[in-house]
Amino acid sequence: MRSDAASIPSTLPERLVEPPLTEGTVTPGSLDDQVLAFPDRRPPLKWYLALAVTLTCLAIGLVFMGITVYDGIGTWGNNSPVFWGFGIINFVFWVGIGHAGTLISAILFLFRKRWRNAIARFAEAMTIFAVMCAGLFPLLHVGRPWLAFWLFPYPNQRALWVNFRSPLIWDVFAVSTYFSVSLMFWYLGLVPDLASMRDRTTSKLRKTIYTVLSLGWRGAASHWQHYEKAYLLLAGLATGLVLSVHSVVSFDFATSVVPAWHMTIFPPYFVAGAIFAGFAMVVMVLVVVRETMDLKNLITLRHLEVMNKVILGMSCLMGYAYFMEGFTAWYSQNTYLEHNFINFISGTYGWAGWLTICCNIFVPQLLWFRKCRTSYFWMILVSIGVTIGMWFERFSIIVISLHQDYMPSAWRVYKPTIVDLGILLGSFGLFFTLVLIFARVLPVIATTEVKGILPDAQPSHHGDGHE
């Protein structure tokens, strides 16, 4: 607390001194020149090349989405008894990716983890893009996407209402609330930065756009007061939300009676997995951003190392969750659960089960070593491993449980079709296209927030600059 600052001895033991959050000399002005200058510069050739690749993926995805809409979802691999195939796997996967952003922007904000300031903006943007990708799949899975508004309770001539006891309706509310709140949170953070861009850009068009988007923000102290309050409140609200969204997603499974879905461990297990996958994606993207956009002094190796520690912690939680699945199967003496767990490690999809376990539990253990936490090669390897592992975890949960449920006469092996794979590729294309465009037109680092934590940023007689 501020008032206690005077009582802190001026010389702390070295291990307690927090290293600076930036490297080299960073002043508010140099920060603006470094971060906010991108939109005024021509993008380099490699940016266009990357965009070409992601747009190609997106185009392929769009073709397969068109086939899905025109021919119907019979073109997907879903069929009895695996009615939930790639559509739900990808939905859960992408919603999970989004969780890292909210965790960084909200929970770490409440914990006063100041290192979050440099990476919060990018992580929040990734949240929004990931939720957009996630929304794509239920939208396509309803078959007639232009009638998807039927999911919302609105008065209609048919005098029908949605079923509020269905977890799928909870999902509609949870994901749409999550998207709205993330967007609001992101936009709120952007307003002062957009004002900075408005005042430095040389292009008339961009000045107009940034003027409108920044709403005429002028940095008045009376505005900052409300702004900080709003940000704190939003962080508190988003903290509850980030824990609830993936819990609600897990209710889709946990409230059903399918073997190995009907488990109380699902909500925390899903939330941990979401943060795990999300952090891996953030690390992967930030390494690229840090190198290509020359932000090494702002997004330091220390940031990446801390995030890798979170990944390691989440990996251990996942290990516990997998262990509990096996333990529950054994301890419950429930034939169906036992059968399901044996399928997880040795059935038709045993390879997916082992891929999940290896990528999510074994590979991240490398991060116990400081060398791996601070080396691009190892952290990228782990992040890609986690991303693959978490995708296959959802695959295992959904397909293994469904393809052999209570009635052996209905058992069937699920195979995705080329349309399934094409749409998955398209969702990655959409995600990275949006990331690339974001990196060029909006401030990738929350400059306002970083300015506030630079050395000497805060008045000295109000403490040591720590909040």
Partner: protein, 382 residues
């Protein structure tokens, strides 16, 4: 610069420390309300400037509670009052299932109150015409400098004294800001063009939505279930020599349950014998079918005086007549099967056995209406 219509006087400081030190100095001179403009929030500046606590927390709490109540009441009304359908064996009034949505709506209401309430209500944004935005200092303010401004309140604002006070406190780049006559960003021309653009966009979007909603529910693109590789009625098919898709049955085809009678006229039919025994069950079935198929025209007593005579041009036969009473069973069966005069065929409505059952019932009616003394005595004897 004239200070007659000055709205504020503003000076820049290089560090947050310098700003914080200047505030009490300038405040002591009591020249007008103080406002600071900073690139990022400065801790402790609220107290230094004497700002009141932000009321946002209370607003968010109220709206959050309102959101919870809204979600709860709405779900209750839908699930238990307006549309009480039992799903999954849960009672309409299963409040536990409403909790996730109550939580989400609470967060939604609270978030929008916090975000939009802060921007639109408390900070009164968007505002593009504020004099600070037109000042030279704004580029420095949103970058790395700290501005302190003395705001004019009423007529007695002394701009010169304000400039001097700021200079004494160490400010540089002191500016007198003039209240602009019109919004420099939102000129009337600009507003007109923007409004026109929004109007046209709305009309186009509305037309597209109208078309989409009108068209798509009736013209679903994936109608492939209707395009099946089967032969539709009345369609040509090269498979057959005559090119007809629908073929006549092979001559001599007998439909299941419809064995040919082997007679071709009423006279020949006289030779047919009723195969059914005269049991109470057969008579009851005959009565039931007579009631459905015959009674409307022939009357409940089969004497040709029906309820429909007035509306019905032809005169139905009186089955109690001498002629018909003397018909053999086969002739009556033939009439039911083939129809006669205005009477249509009932072959499609009644199976062979049903027709014979009706014949039995008609015989019973005829005997009841023309009973002899012997019949009465026999009935009395029983």
């Amino acid at each position: 610069m004239s200070s007659g219509n000055a709205s504020s006087v503003l000076g820049l400081f290089d560090t947050a420390d310098a700003l914080m030190e200047a505030i009490p100095q300038v405040k002591a001179k009591n020249l007008g309300r103080l406002e600071a403009y900073t690139p990022y929030p400065i801790h402790g500046i609220d107290d230094a400037l004497g700002l009141r606590r932000s009321p946002l927390g209370g607003m968010v709490l109220v709206m959050g509670i309102l959101g919870a109540i809204t979600a709860f009441v709405f779900q209750f009304w839908v699930s238990a009052v307006d549309y009480p359908i039992i799903t999954g064996g849960k009672a309409p009034w299963s409040w536990e299932a409403f909790i996730p949505i109550i939580f989400e709506v609470t967060v939604l209401f609270a978030t929008f109150t916090a975000g939009l309430g802060m921007l639109l209500l408390l900070n009164r944004l968007p505002l593009f015409g504020h004099p600070v935005l037109a000042s030279d200092a704004i580029k420095a303010i949103t970058r790395d400098r700290f501005a302190l401004s003395i705001e004019a309140e009423g007529e007695g604002f002394d701009a010169a004294a304000a400039q001097a006070a700021l200079a004494a406190a160490g400010a540089t780049g002191i500016e007198v800001l003039i209240e602009p006559d019109r919004d420099p960003f939102l000129t009337s021309d600009y507003i007109l063009r923007a409004a026109g653009g929004i109007f046209v966009s709305c009309v186009v979007a509305g037309l597209i939505m109208y078309g989409a909603v009108k068209l798509f529910p009736v013209l679903p693109p994936m109608s492939h279930m209707e395009d099946q590789p089967k032969l539709a009625a009345q369609k040509a098919d090269p498979f057959f020599k005559d090119g007809f898709g629908m073929q006549e049955p092979v001559p001599g085809t007998v439909a299941r349950g419809y064995l040919p009678l082997g007679v071709s006229s009423q006279e020949e039919a006289a030779a047919l014998v009723n195969p059914l025994p005269t049991t109470p069950a057969v008579l009851a079935e005959g009565k039931r079918l007579f009631h459905i198929r015959c009674e409307l025209c022939h009357g409940p007593l089969a004497n040709g005086t029906p309820t429909l005579t007035a509306a019905y041009g032809a005169k139905p036969a009186n089955l109690q007549s001498e002629q018909i009473r003397n018909y053999p069973d086969g002739k009556i069966f033939w009439v039911i099967t083939m129809g006669k005069n205005a009477m249509p065929s009932h072959a499609a409505d009644l199976t062979v056995d049903q027709r014979w059952a009706i014949v039995h019932y008609v015989r019973a009616l005829q005997r009841a209406q023309n009973a002899t003394d012997a019949d009465v005595k026999a009935a009395e004897a029983r």
